[in-house]
Amino acid sequence: MHEITSSLPPACDFNEVRRVEGFDRIREQYPDFLSDESKLTMGPFDLLFFPANESELSAVVKEMVRRNIPITVAGARTGLVGGCVPPEGALVSLAQMSKVLAVYHAPYAREWRIRAEAAVRLADIDKMAESKRFPDLEKSQDPFVIEQLRLYGGEQQRYFYPPDPTEMSASIGGSVATNASGARTFRFGPTRDWVRGIRVMTMTGEVLDIPRGKYFSSPSGWFTVYDGKGSCYPVRIPDYQMPRTKNTAGFYASPHMDLVDLFIGSEGSFGIITSVDIALLAWQPKCSIILFTESDERALHLVETLRSDKRLKLDFLEFYSSSAMDLLRDMQAGDPRHVGMPAIPESAGAAVFFDVGFDPLEEKPDFRALEESTASAGVYLADSWAGYEPRELARFKAFRHLLPEKITQVLSERKKTYPGLHRLSSDLAVPDEHLFDMWRLYRTQLDQAGFEWVAFGHVGNNHLHVSTMPRNMEELERGLRLYAQFAQKAAAYGGAVSAEHGVGKIKSKFLAKMYSADEINQMHAVKTALDPDMLLNPGNIFAA
């Protein structure tokens, strides 16, 4: 079916919606709402709304459209590209739409799901899924909700939500809008793969209820959206090829595509996601392993070996470059307790992190495949740290996330001398066969430039965060030019210019490196079909 009809939520009085009016008041009472984690700020805006439900949201949308006022949508404002930073008009914060609506078993899919309003935080979803305690649902009057909660509570198996972006205070709505990914994307895919349905409000103020697997584009690539009044909005899906990598740059498009996928990762370009159904997965006990290698190149070789060995099922494959290890050694020299791990071995030139399924009480665990595979790459399991107890898993995870914190610290020190300084960070992914090419490019260019840089992150997806810490403004300028070249090259390799953080406002200029003018026009056509006056999230994706 490629036709879908939206419906109007129960009416409510626009004047009842919680709001702050006037830029001065907003700045005074809600200073955090002027920016997100990119720290980008834009022009003044005069309206800030906190709708509590779909009815209130609908009243706001209809009134803003009537007055021709642009709307920017904010989830938890953890974005890194300024997506929820309003250039003008109104900011709609979904913070009040933060209830979990159900945990339920989908019998055909044989999986447990959670239905939650947009502002529920990922960290809370994780906690509730694991502890099987849902404060919102315990108060429910709905017999179905109560019964399903009881059944879930009675399950012996532990469940989890596989997407694991680093910033767990993000909202579920925001993470779906940006198709967030994390380390585990290597095995389990990005957020997209775990979304089973969404409710999304269009600029008509009506809601589309889109379960996955119901609405597909027509053979010629169209969807037709009707509103409650019978108006028709035909949408033509772009015909470009998506990169074969992790990607959050540009709208998702594929032949015979599911309508839900058009909204996932579109950064709120087409509508406001009000609630989401996500799937949970049975959790298996794990052992976290940090394998040390003599050099960066050896580590990348190991990565290629491990991921091509079909016998192995690794949850993720992450990387610390040799320069990253040196920075961590510095931290250990300062305060070993802060790092929380034993002294990094002298011989460790780089490190590769992964998790394997592991039952601690199994009598004769068989890891011959892993032993063979690592040895064939010239790396040995004796040169590793490993841990499987919950406290060890937490300790290893913290170690994996330690580096960005150190980089921020180094830079804030330098900012005292050069206030305009910031770190340069890449978010580029390339197809498997170009991992080494991209690595050589980074290394030769950055070393030649004489920069202080480290690489870490999602090496299994050929998606490294390469962070340069400029020492002065001149280095920053040179670095910016170099990073633009990196993006160009990644796109030429068939990769993505924004693998994880989205485009928002900050990266809209990179889009042209990946897509032709015609392809960007096709994206624009989708946008105007659903938001004819370009009032929703202005400045996102398409530079204003």
């Binding site: 307790r337 665990p365 004796a382 590793s384 490993a386 919950p390």
Partner: protein, 274 residues
């Protein structure tokens, strides 16, 4: 040279939660770990072995079948072998019955031991009695609250730095001896995956009451001379006041006023004594 490290599996508790009705520890949903002080004892055994490679380390535990996990951790960290004494009859043992059972196991399975290392206490019961009782039962010299240890006199003596309230003490004992430890590695060791797999290739010997030749009335609840009447959290100390964001001089004045307000003599009344 044989070293025995007695270890216990405990719930991983940072904050003790107590069931008010039964007065027992709530262990539900809490992961089990090797008691941190036992891990310190093991740290020291491993260090002694690094200096004296002929040492063989045996990890010994009395506990339910699940305590195997704690012994596996001990093997991963460097114990050469592990023994679990495990029998329903041991259930409900107090510190005396536990020490008696362990002492029998040591007699039987590691008769040539030269050193017994223990943690100062287990974090679930906090009695700090099993180590000293074990030393008494085996008629061994004992040094408690150790933080450093070294073997001297051609492996005939052990020299231990121990914590006391006013500082440190260095004591020596002839071997065989028992030492309890209150500190080890500041940061937990991380075994390699090879060591984790290696631990699983080793056999853990399991022994029951009959193998130890102990009578039923000597072990478990019936062999216990004490029983727990009540467990309760100690009353909370009144929190002090934290001064932050002040210059040193300013902070000093604040502290001085705070003490004066409470009638405590301060610098102006009393010269600082060193």
């Amino acid at each position: 040279m044989e070293i025995v490290v007695a270890v216990k599996q405990v719930p991983e508790i940072s904050e003790v939660k107590i069931n008010r009705e039964t007065g027992t520890l709530i262990r539900e949903g809490v992961a089990s770990i090797l008691n941190p002080f036992c891990e310190y004892a093991l740290d020291h055994a491993v260090r002694l072995k690094a200096a004296n490679p002929e040492i063989r380390i045996t990890a010994l535990s009395m506990g339910p079948p699940q305590a195997r996990a704690a012994l596996l951790r001990a093997l991963e960290l460097g114990a050469d072998r592990a023994i679990l004494v495990c029998d329903r009859k041991f259930a409900g043992a107090d510190t005396w019955a536990t020490a008696l059972t362990l002492s029998e196991a040591i007699h039987q399975f590691v008769p040539g031991y030269k050193l017994i290392l223990v943690g100062k206490q287990a974090i679930d019961g906090d009695t700090a009695q099993v180590g000293p009782e074990l030393a008494e039962m085996l008629s061994l010299p004992q040094i408690s609250y150790g933080i450093e240890a070294e073997l001297t006199a051609g492996l005939k003596r052990i020299r231990v730095k121990r914590e006391i309230e006013s500082g440190y003490q260095i004591m020596e004992a002839r071997l065989p001896a028992l030492v309890s430890f209150s500190k080890g590695e500041v940061i937990r060791r991380a075994p390699s995956f090879k060591e984790i797999l290696g631990a699983r290739a080793k056999q853990i010997k399991v022994a029951d009451a009959s193998e130890l030749g102990l009578a039923e009335k000597e072990v478990g609840l019936s062999g216990s001379h004490t029983h727990v009447v009540k467990i309760f959290p100690p009353s909370q100390k009144v929190h002090g006041r934290m001064l932050t964001g002040l210059e040193a001089g300013e902070a000093g004045r604040e502290i001085c006023l705070f003490l004066k307000d409470r009638g405590i003599p301060t610098d102006s009344d009393m010269r600082y004594r060193t």
